[in-house]
C-alpha cells in the first residue's frame, strides 16, 4: 500500500510535468500542423535558466535558507525568459517558412533544437558540466499518509502544474485571445478574414507554450535537482515522452495532452515500481504503439481525414 501510494504520487507529479510540456507540442500542432522539435529544448532551458536565475540572486545553498518567495520569483522569471525565447524562435525560424512545405518547417525545427542544445554548451553560456539546482522549496516531510511521507516539494509540483493547466484552460476557453487561437487552429484564412491578426496569435501560442515548458523545467529541476548539461540525451527523451503524451491524448487536443501526460507519468512509474525499473521507457513507448494501433486519433482526439 505504501509503495502504491508513493508511486501514485510520484507518477502524478512526473505526469503533470509531461502534461505541461505536451501542451506546448499540441498547441503548436493545433495551429500550424507541425511538430516543434525545439520544444524539448525550451523545457531544458527552463530548468537551466532556473539554476542561473537562482545563482544570480545569490540563492545557491542546499539548506533552504532562501526567502519563501524565491520559488515564485524564479518560476516567473524563467517563464518570461522562455516565453520570449519561444517568440524569437517563431519569428526568426518558423515565420519565414509560413508558406513553405511542412517538411521544411519540420527540418528547421530539428535544426533549432540542435542549435539550442549545442550552443547552450558553449563555455561562456551554460557549459558542459551538470549542475545542482539549489533547494528553493522545503524538502522535509509535511505529513505522512499510510507510511508515505508527503514533501512540500511534491505537493507544490503537482499543485503548480494543475494551477497552470487551469490557467491555460481559462485562457483558451475564457478569453478573446483563446477564442482567436481556436478560430485560427480551425481555419487560418477565414480567421484572418474575420479580422484576427493571425501572425500575432501564432506568436502568442509560442509564448504561452514555451512559458508552460519553462515552468515544467523549473519544477523538474526542483524535484530532480541534478541538471544535466544542455545536450545530454535525457532532455530529448523527456521531451519525446511529453510528445508521446500529446499523441496518446490526441494531438491538437488540450485536454488530451493533459490526460496523456498524466497517463504517461503513471504508466512509467508504475511499470518501474512493479515490473522492472530498467524498462521504464519501454512502457511509455509500448503505450504509444498500442494507442497508434487501436486508436490512432488519440484517446480524446477526433478521427480526421487528412486534407490534401
Amino acid at each position: 500500500m505504501t509503495k502504491f501510494l508513493q508511486t501514485l504520487m510520484d507518477g502524478t507529479a512526473v505526469g503533470s510535468l509531461y502534461a505541461l510540456i505536451a501542451l506546448g507540442y499540441t498547441m503548436v500542432y493545433g495551429i500550424l500542423r507541425f511538430i516543434n522539435f525545439a520544444h524539448s529544448d525550451v523545457f531544458m532551458l527552463g530548468a537551466w535558466f532556473s539554476y542561473e536565475v537562482a545563482k544570480i540572486m545569490g540563492w545557491t545553498g542546499q539548506d533552504q535558507s532562501h526567502p519563501v518567495w524565491a520559488s515564485a520569483f524564479v518560476i516567473v522569471a524563467v517563464m518570461v525568459a522562455c516565453g520570449t525565447l519561444g517568440f524569437v524562435i517563431e519569428r526568426g525560424a518558423y515565420r519565414p517558412l509560413r508558406s513553405a512545405p511542412r517538411i521544411n518547417v519540420l527540418i528547421t525545427a530539428i535544426g533549432v533544437s540542435l542549435f539550442l542544445e549545442n550552443s547552450g554548451q558553449l563555455p561562456f553560456l551554460l557549459g558542459t558540466q551538470p549542475q545542482r539546482m539549489p533547494t528553493l522549496m522545503p524538502e522535509h516531510a509535511l505529513f505522512a499518509v499510510a507510511g508515505v511521507s508527503v514533501r512540500a516539494v511534491d505537493l507544490l509540483v503537482i499543485g503548480i502544474s494543475f494551477a497552470l493547466m487551469a490557467l491555460l484552460e481559462w485562457i483558451i476557453y475564457g478569453t478573446k485571445l483563446g477564442l482567436a487561437m481556436r478560430a485560427v487552429s480551425y481555419d487560418t484564412k477565414v480567421a484572418a478574414l474575420m479580422g484576427i491578426p493571425v501572425d500575432r496569435v501564432i506568436s502568442m501560442t509560442f509564448v504561452v507554450g514555451s512559458a508552460l515548458a519553462a515552468a515544467a523545467g523549473f519544477l523538474y529541476a526542483t524535484k530532480y535537482p541534478g541538471i544535466n548539461q544542455p545536450a545530454h540525451p535525457t532532455w530529448v527523451l523527456l521531451g519525446l515522452k511529453a510528445f508521446v503524451a500529446a499523441v496518446v491524448g490526441g494531438i491538437g487536443n488540450l485536454r488530451g495532452a493533459m490526460a496523456g501526460g498524466l497517463m504517461i507519468g503513471l504508466v512509467e512509474l508504475f511499470g518501474a515500481a512493479y515490473l522492472s525499473p530498467h524498462l521504464r521507457d519501454v512502457y511509455v513507448f509500448t503505450l504509444l504503439i498500442l494507442v497508434l494501433l487501436f486508436r490512432p486519433e488519440g484517446l480524446l482526439g477526433k478521427a480526421t481525414i487528412e486534407k490534401v
Binding site: K176, L179, A180, R182, A183, S185, Y186, D187, K189, V190, A191, A192, L193, M194, G195, I196, P197, V198
Partner: protein
C-alpha cells in the same frame, strides 16, 4: 463607396482578373454573376485582402485599400462572408459570432448587434450553445452571414450564399439579404444563381474570364437575351 479600377490578379501563371472595373454605391445591392471560374470569388478575395492584386486600384470610401491585410480591411468596414461559408465547426454558434466582432471592443454595441442578428436568424438563437459543425447547411450559411454582420460592416461581401442549399432555404436566405440591406448595409453579392441574384439586386455585372462584359440595372440584365441564354437557362 467602392470602386475597382483596372484590377488584375494573378494566381501564379494564371491571369485570373484582367482589368475588372466595378462600382458599388452606398445603399445598393450589387450582384456579380458569371460562370464557374470566371473570377467572381477572386474579385471578392482581392477586395477583402486575401489576395494581392498585381495591378489596379481598389478604393473604399475614397481611400485606397488594395493590398491591405484582411484584418485591416475588416477594421475599415468591409466584411466578407466567404464561399463555402467557412464557419468554425469547433466553436459554438455564439463564439462564431464573437469572432465576427473580433475587431470591435464596444461591448454594448456588440451585444446589441448580437441581438439584431438573432432577430434576423431566430434559428441561430435557438442553437447558440451548439457547435457550428452540427448545424445544417442553411443554418451554417445564416451563421456565416450573421458573423459577417457582427463586424458592423458598411459593405458586406457575400460569396455564393445559395450554394448547395434547398430551394426553400434559398428563398429564406435571399429574403434575409433584402432585410440586411434594408437595415442600411450595402451589399456586393456574388452568385451562380443569376436568376435569384438579379431579382434582389439593384444593379448587376456579368464577368467572363476575368473581365466585366456587361453592366446594367438588374432588371435590364435579367431581361437581356445574352444573360438569359448564358445564365438563366434560356
Amino acid at each position: 463607396m467602392l470602386r475597382l479600377n483596372d484590377l488584375h490578379v494573378h494566381y501564379g501563371a494564371v491571369h485570373a482578373l484582367q482589368g475588372v472595373e466595378l462600382e458599388v454605391n452606398q445603399g445598393e445591392i450589387v450582384t456579380l454573376i458569371g460562370s464557374n471560374g470566371a473570377g467572381k470569388s477572386t474579385t471578392l478575395r482581392a477586395i477583402s485582402g486575401m489576395l494581392r492584386p498585381s495591378r489596379g486600384t481598389i478604393d473604399f470610401e475614397g481611400k485606397p485599400i488594395a493590398g491591405l491585410a484582411p484584418h485591416v480591411v475588416v477594421g475599415l468596414g468591409i466584411a466578407h462572408s466567404p464561399e463555402g461559408r467557412g464557419v468554425f465547426a469547433n466553436l459554438t454558434v455564439e463564439e462564431n459570432l464573437q469572432v465576427g466582432a473580433y475587431t470591435r471592443s464596444d461591448k454594448a454595441g456588440i451585444a446589441e448587434d448580437m441581438k439584431k442578428v438573432y432577430g434576423l436568424f431566430p434559428r441561430l438563437e435557438e442553437r447558440r450553445r451548439q457547435l457550428a459543425g452540427t448545424l445544417s447547411g442553411g443554418e451554417q450559411q445564416m451563421l456565416a452571414m450573421g458573423r459577417a454582420l457582427l463586424a458592423r460592416p458598411r459593405l458586406l461581401l457575400l460569396d455564393e450564399p445559395s450554394l448547395g442549399l434547398a430551394p426553400q432555404i434559398v428563398k429564406v436566405i435571399f429574403q434575409i439579404i433584402r432585410d440586411i440591406n434594408a437595415l442600411g448595409t450595402t451589399i456586393l453579392l456574388v452568385e451562380q444563381n443569376a436568376h435569384k441574384a438579379l431579382e434582389v439586386a439593384n444593379r448587376g455585372y456579368v464577368i467572363e474570364v476575368g473581365k466585366i462584359v456587361l453592366a446594367d440595372d438588374a432588371k435590364v440584365l435579367a431581361a437581356s437575351d445574352e444573360v438569359r441564354k448564358a445564365y438563366l437557362g434560356g
